[in-house]
Symmetry: C2
Subunit: 319 residues, 2 copies
């Protein structure tokens, strides 16, 4: 588990803008579980953030100075400029936010990477059919809370697994999950899953890995689909933990487990974004943000995400 003292706040003078560049003042920073994987010093699907480098991450900010006619002063943009209060960009990867649609911070959540992760990672990998049983772990997080709602929109039953009674209440009372349980106060996950899913599980959207995920295996239906989005229970583990013999379960159930990265679907983000915005407008998708105030608190916010302190999307409000 990272600790506050692993991070250092560094001040540097800003160079003047070159032609084509913009100066952004950060308003919101995203903190996400995947960031922990970048801190191991090894390349996975992306380069690591090495010791002494600035932490990467999604951000929202305002153009405060511009030598790029595509992005005039006053525009609210989102991009991947990382943990800095001011950022200089040549415009690559920047996207203007329509603040009439939803508050700008949602570009880091429901209308950003977590939203696309839920949309494509669930619909494309699980291929849910109406009437099926969908179980989501990390169900009150930025992604999981959306997956359960999309499942409901698609006519599925949704059961959430989360780590607090308040989260259980939120996802069942407000988001429309059919049922949920708090794994921290549940002794026998398998028994609870069998109780809530008496006809078995057709789709499992996995944010956590570990014992919660192992409990799913014996409740899977024939031709079940598992979408592997995250393994947050493992990210701070010093060495890989062993796992139940999932291949034996997949074999006898003709079931499938598949990992994905949201950027596999980058070409279809416009489609996903439009659909999520429509569902929000229709009241079919609700979201919540856990907002931490102050740039200096961004490490603490990340530690919070890794500890499950957030309900919905965790963002840091910088200004």
């Amino acid at each position: 588990m990272p600790k506050d003292s692993d991070f250092h706040l560094v001040s540097e003078p800003l160079p003047p803008l070159s032609e084509g560049q913009v100066l952004l003042r950060t308003q919101y920073l995203s903190v996400d579980p995947y960031m922990r994987g970048r801190m191991n010093g090894v390349r996975t699907y992306a380069d690591p953030v090495n010791i002494g480098q600035m932490m990467v991450g999604g951000a929202v900010g305002e153009v405060v100075e511009s030598r790029n006619s595509d992005f005039p002063v006053g525009d609210i943009l989102t991009g991947y400029w990382g943990w800095q209060e001011f950022a200089i960009s040549d415009g690559t990867g920047l996207r203007k936010i329509d603040t009439n649609l939803a508050p700008p911070s949602t570009a880091l959540g429901v209308l950003g990477m977590p939203g696309m992760t839920a949309y494509f990672g669930f619909l494309e990998i699980c291929q849910p059919k109406s009437g099926e049983m969908v179980v989501v772990s990390g169900a009150a997080g930025a992604v999981g809370s959306l997956v359960g709602q999309i499942a409901t929109i698609k006519g599925c039953e949704a059961v959430g697994i989360t780590g607090a009674d308040s989260k259980v209440a939120w996802i069942t009372d407000e988001l429309g999950f059919d049922a949920a349980f708090n794994y921290k106060t549940t002794d026998d996950y398998v028994a609870r899953l069998k109780e809530l899913c008496p006809n078995g599980i057709d789709c499992y959207f996995d944010n956590v890995g570990g014992p919660i995920t192992e409990a799913i295996f014996s409740v899977l239906n024939t031709k079940a689909r598992i979408s592997i989005c995250g393994q947050i229970s493992q990210y701070n583990s010093p060495k890989p933990q062993s796992f139940a013999p999932i291949f034996s379960y997949l074999l006898t159930k003709s079931a499938r487990a598949e990992g994905f990265l949201v950027y596999n679907y980058a070409e279809r983000f416009a489609e996903g974004m439009a659909q999520m915005a429509k569902w929000i407008k229709e009241g079919k998708i609700k979201y919540r943000e856990t907002i931490v105030d102050g740039f200096e608190n961004v490490p603490r916010a990340l530690i919070g995400v890794l500890s499950g302190d957030n309900t919905g999307k965790m963002v840091v409000k910088v200004t």
Copy 2:
């Protein structure tokens, strides 16, 4: 591991045939790894064979008496009548063998269930593309030996993992696998795989599970596909053995693992059978049988399959 004394030979008088029935004299019996799973007393995808019941299994035999005009005396048929020297059937599930195409015992191998397992389990689950690297475990078995050859036909490179130097020689010299290694004389499976697959593994066809399969995980390419056909290393394990954290690998590689049962593809067996027969005729698919003589030796033959004594398909010649 089953032992000879777990089985008993029982003699019973045959009742006279009713209208619509045929009497079959068994010529060949199939012994296959999946049979071990039927002996655990629990229902998986099929009912168990309970203590005192006759063992199930594929068979080939001749009609010696008939009250069914579809199957006259002298026909050579294949069906699923299990471990008995004579069987009475109403014709359900029986199929006539074209003995001009290949010897009748191949109806239990390359032109039967193992052939269809290799054909559909590899092509449908792995979706191999020309130029990809395919690794097969249990590579000299009834199914694995065919998977490597189909991979080669499809323009892939095929690497086999097997348990004897003679098997390594057979699959590379005669079947056209690009490379193979004997896991019993290899210390570091991962190092050997990296040596033989310097550009990584795109498809893995898994017959064995356990440490061999775990070694694959760190050599998988992005968007790799794993077809889970069998987990023979686990079948005699008194309790489920733990497994490397495969979900973490599938996640970072956007990779997929999927189990299947050959009967999922039953509607397409005619297509698969025709293609396999064509490849045999063209000399593109070769096969070998390990034949055990004598009905009384069928338990020993099954134990042999579970121990890797066979090269290619293991069958018992009854008459």
